[in-house]
Symmetry: C2
Subunit: 352 residues, 2 copies
C-alpha cells in the first residue's frame, strides 16, 4: 500500500497541510483507501516534542514512504540554536540528504487572474507554463573546498559524474514527455568541462527520446531569456548552482511566492512542499494561503503516483477558484473575495 508521510511542521504549516490533505483525499475519492496517511513531527514542533528537528522515527518513516508532504519549518523560537540544530537546516537538509533527492522540480505557471501581481508586463507573462529542474546533489556546492593563508586564497571544486548527470537528464526528458516535449538544457559548455560532459550526455540521451526537441542554452543567456521571453520554455534542466539561480529567477514569473510548489525527487520517491516558509507572523490566524501546498499535492500525484488526470484536476480547480475571485490576504486586491485558509480549501474542494 503506497505510504504518504505528512509533516505539517511549524507556523502556517499546521494550517496549510490540513487543507492540502483534504484536497488530496477528495481527489483520490474511493482510491483513498489504497493509500496510507500518517502524520510525523518535524522542525521546531519536533524539537519541543523530542529534542531534535528531524527525529529518527520521522526520517525512517519518510525513507519508507512513497511520498512526503511537508508544510514548513522554523520560527523565531528556534533561531538562537546553532545552525546545525535549527529546523531549516537540520530538518530540511536532513530530509534531502537522508532521502537522497537528486532532482528539484519547480513548476512556474502564470495564472491569468494573477497577472497584475508580477513585475513583468502582462503580455510577456500571459501563457507562461514551464518546469525548471535542478540537480541537487552534485556540482560546486558539494565539491571539495579549501583555504590557504598568507596570502589567502580559496577554492571550490565543481564536479559531476556520468551517473549524476544521466539521472537528472532522464528526469528532464521524462518530464518533457509529460508536457510539450521541449527540453532546454542549460549549461556553460563554452568554458566549463563539467558543462561539456553535460551537453555531450544530453545529446546522447536525446536519441532515446526522439519525440523530445532538445535545445541547449548558456546559463547567462537563459537568465536573460527568462525575463525577455519566458513563454519560449517548456522544461529547463540544469546543474545545481545554475538551477539555484534560475529557479529563484523563474519564481518571479509565477505571480506570487504563495503559489509556488516544489518537488524533490529520487526516482518516483518524492518530497512535496510549498516554496514559501513557515510565516510565523501570520500563523494560527487562518490567514495563510494554502494554494502552493495544494499544488504540491498535484505534483505528488504526478511524479510519485503517475496520476496525471488527478493532478490536472487539482491544478484546474486552483485556477478556477482564482478566476472566481477568491484570494487570501497575500494576493488580495480591491474587489476580490478575501478568504481565510480554511475557506480557500473549501473553495478548491467545491471546484474539483
Amino acid at each position: 500500500m503506497p505510504k504518504i508521510a505528512v509533516l505539517p511542521g511549524d507556523g502556517i504549516g499546521q494550517e496549510i497541510i490540513p487543507q492540502a490533505v483534504r484536497v488530496l483525499k477528495a481527489v483520490l475519492a474511493e482510491k483513498e483507501a489504497d493509500f496510507e496517511f500518517q502524520d510525523y513531527p518535524v522542525g521546531g514542533a519536533a524539537i519541543e516534542l523530542v529534542g531534535k528537528a528531524l527525529p529518527d522515527e520521522t526520517l525512517k518513516a519518510c525513507q519508507e514512504a512513497d511520498a512526503v508532504l511537508l508544510g514548513a519549518v522554523g520560527g523565531p523560537q528556534w533561531d538562537h540554536l546553532p545552525a546545525s540544530k535549527r529546523p531549516e537546516t537540520a530538518a530540511l537538509l536532513g530530509l534531502r540528504k537522508g532521502l537522497n533527492f537528486y532532482a528539484n522540480i519547480r513548476p512556474v505557471r502564470m495564472i491569468p487572474s494573477l497577472l497584475a501581481t508580477s513585475t513583468l508586463k502582462e503580455d510577456v507573462l500571459d501563457g507562461v507554463d514551464m518546469v525548471v529542474i535542478r540537480e541537487l546533489t552534485g556540482g560546486v556546492y558539494f565539491g571539495e573546498k579549501g583555504r590557504s593563508e598568507n596570502p589567502r586564497s580559496a577554492y571550490d571544486r565543481m564536479s559531476y559524474t556520468e551517473e549524476e548527470i544521466r539521472r537528472i537528464l532522464v528526469q528532464g526528458f521524462e518530464t518533457a514527455m509529460l508536457r510539450d516535449k521541449k527540453l532546454c538544457s542549460v549549461d556553460k559548455a563554452n568554458v566549463l568541462e563539467t558543462s561539456r560532459l553535460w551537453r555531450e550526455m544530453a545529446n546522447e540521451l536525446s536519441k532515446d527520446y526522439p519525440e523530445v526537441e532538445l535545445t541547449h542554452m548558456y546559463v547567462d543567456n537563459a537568465a536573460m531569456q527568462l525575463v525577455r521571453n519566458p513563454k519560449q520554455f517548456d522544461v529547463i534542466v540544469t546543474e545545481n548552482m545554475f538551477g539555484d539561480i534560475l529557479t529563484d529567477l523563474a519564481s518571479m514569473l509565477g505571480g506570487s511566492i504563495g503559489m509556488l510548489s516544489s518537488a524533490s525527487l529520487s526516482g518516483t520517491q518524492g518530497m512535496y512542499e510549498p516554496a514559501h516558509g513557515s510565516a510565523p507572523d501570520i500563523a494560527g490566524k487562518n490567514l495563510a494561503n494554502p494554494l502552493a501546498t495544494i499544488l504540491s499535492v498535484a505534483l505528488m500525484l504526478r511524479y510519485s503516483f503517475g496520476m496525471e488526470d488527478e493532478a490536472l484536476r487539482i491544478e484546474k480547480a486552483v485556477e478556477k477558484v482564482l478566476e472566481q475571485g477568491y484570494r487570501t490576504g497575500d494576493l488580495a486586491q480591491a474587489g476580490d473575495k478575501l478568504v481565510g485558509t480554511v475557506e480557500m480549501g473549501d473553495a478548491v474542494l467545491a471546484a474539483l
Copy 2:
C-alpha cells in the same frame, strides 16, 4: 600625453565609432589637443589587411594607450575560420588578456523615454540606475579543469587569491564613492569557500570606505531582486561567473541592447565598447544606433581620465536626444523622429 587607441573593427563598428569620436572631441573642446588619438585595425578588417584579427602592432599600441575605444568585430566572412582565429575570440579575448583587464563595468540606467521597450513594468524600472561590476580573470572559468573516462566524470576548479579579490572589491568601493555610496557584494557564502573569503575581504575593506554602505546578497536572491525591485541597487560587485549571469540579466533592465555600454579595466587603463555586436546585416547603411558607443566614451572619461563632469555631460545629452524623440530604427516606435547613425551623432553634439 594621454593616448587613446581607436579600433573601429567590423560591420557597424566603422559607423558608430566616428560618431563617438566626434562627441568625445566635442566634449574635450580645447583639451582635445592634450590627447593623442590614433586608429588601429582589429577584427576581420585586420585579417584582410595583415592576416590576423589582432595584429601585434594593434596589441602593442593598446597596451601603451591609456584608453581603447572599440567598435565591434566579426562577420559572416570570417565565421569559417577556426575559433582561435575568428575575430570575436582572437581579437576580443586577445585584447582582454593582453591588457590584463580584471574588471568589467556595466552601467544599467533606465532612460525614461525608453520605458515602454522593456518587458518589465514601467513603475518597476522607472529610476533604475546601477552599475554591475564583474571580476574577469579568476574563478571557475579560468581554473584547472579535467575529464576522466570509464565512467566519465569532469571537474572545474573555482579559485580566487586575496589579490584578485581585493582589486575588484576596491573597484566596487571606488565606483560606489562616485555614485550613491551603496555597494552590494554578491556571493554564495553559505556554500562556497571562495565566497566566504570574498565576503570576509569585503567586510575588511569596508573599513577603508566608511562612507560606503556595504551589503551582501546571495547570487540566487540577487537574480530574483533584479527582477523584483531593481531600484534598490546602486553598485553590484561580484565574481566572474555570477557576474556573467547577472550582467546579462541586468541588461534586460536598460530598455535596449542598443543603449548598453561597457568598460573593461585594469586600474585606470581601460577598453570601452558597446555591449552589442557588429550587426553585419545593417552595416554600411547608416542605420546603426551609435548611443551605446557614445555612452562608452562617457565611461572612458569617468574611469580612465577622472573627468566626471564631461562624462555626465555626454550622458545628459544622450538622455536629452531621446527625450526629444530621436530614435534609430532599433528603438523607433510610431511618432518618433527616425534618424540614421550620423544624424543621431549630430543630435547628441547639438545637445551637449
